[in-house]
Subunit: 115 residues, 2 copies
DNA sequence: AAGTATACATCGATTATCGATGTATTGCCA
DNA sequence: TGGCAATACATCGATAATCGATGTATACTT
């Protein structure tokens, strides 16, 4: 990757949790949903996704179960735990604080203070 | 550092370039200025700062000279090159694109489209 | 029959950032 | 005048996040 390209940059956990807030979803679907919501601006490979899911599950922010009902390969479906909902609120606030701070330093437009 | 803490996260180069856009400044002063503009929300140690300055200088986005006029230790004063001004425009746009995308996925307020 | 999309997973490499440590000067205050 | 904090440079190893490549398998489409 070219140096200094802004990619996922530390927000992957928040992105995943935010997607799971809407509904339980399997790994592959989470990645597609993040791409879709961001109009393909945010995208990452499996080597980024699956370790992140494992870390979030280990921290009990998400939990998983296998869905073998549909056709095709079995899907590992993840859902937010109560602790994960709390964590989402935390990282969402952290993101707002951080991005407003960067805006200030970079001299971008102020965004509404409504958190 | 705790896992999943949003820190500088890939924007350090942009932050430095943005500060230097206002006026030439030495390393220590750049760090203080970023802290000050962000109300201490963005902060980092010398082990982060100096390698970043060296990389930016190697890429010819900034250039340096020693200021021995004042009291105290000599200051290495950095200033933006024309190429650095271009680079700043590029990373500033990249930051806006990126942060708007994260906002979309995280479900934050939309920020004004005025770039 | 071939190719694409879905869906899981691992692995090593790279890179950014962190945290600790070191040197030296200046100014302040007790 | 002794000590501490602030200023100001710098290096170094550790860590953690992310990348990119690779692998398996099924399903659907052409």
């Amino acid at each position: 990757m070219a140096r200094n390209t802004i990619n996922i940059s530390g927000n992957l956990f928040g992105l995943i949790l935010a997607v799971l807030e809407s509904a339980p979803l399997h790994g592959y679907g989470i990645a597609r949903e993040i791409e879709s919501r961001s109009a393909d601006a945010l995208s990452f490979g499996e080597g980024t996704l699956y370790p992140a899911l494992r870390a979030l599950e280990q921290d009990r922010f998400i939990e998983s179960g296998w869905d073998t009902s549909g056709p095709g390969a079995a899907r590992k479906v993840y859902s937010l735990t109560p602790s994960g909902t709390q964590e989402l609120a935390r990282v969402r606030q952290a993101w707002l604080d951080y991005s407003r701070s960067v805006d200030k330093v970079m001299g971008a437009q102020a965004r509404p203070t409504t958190a």
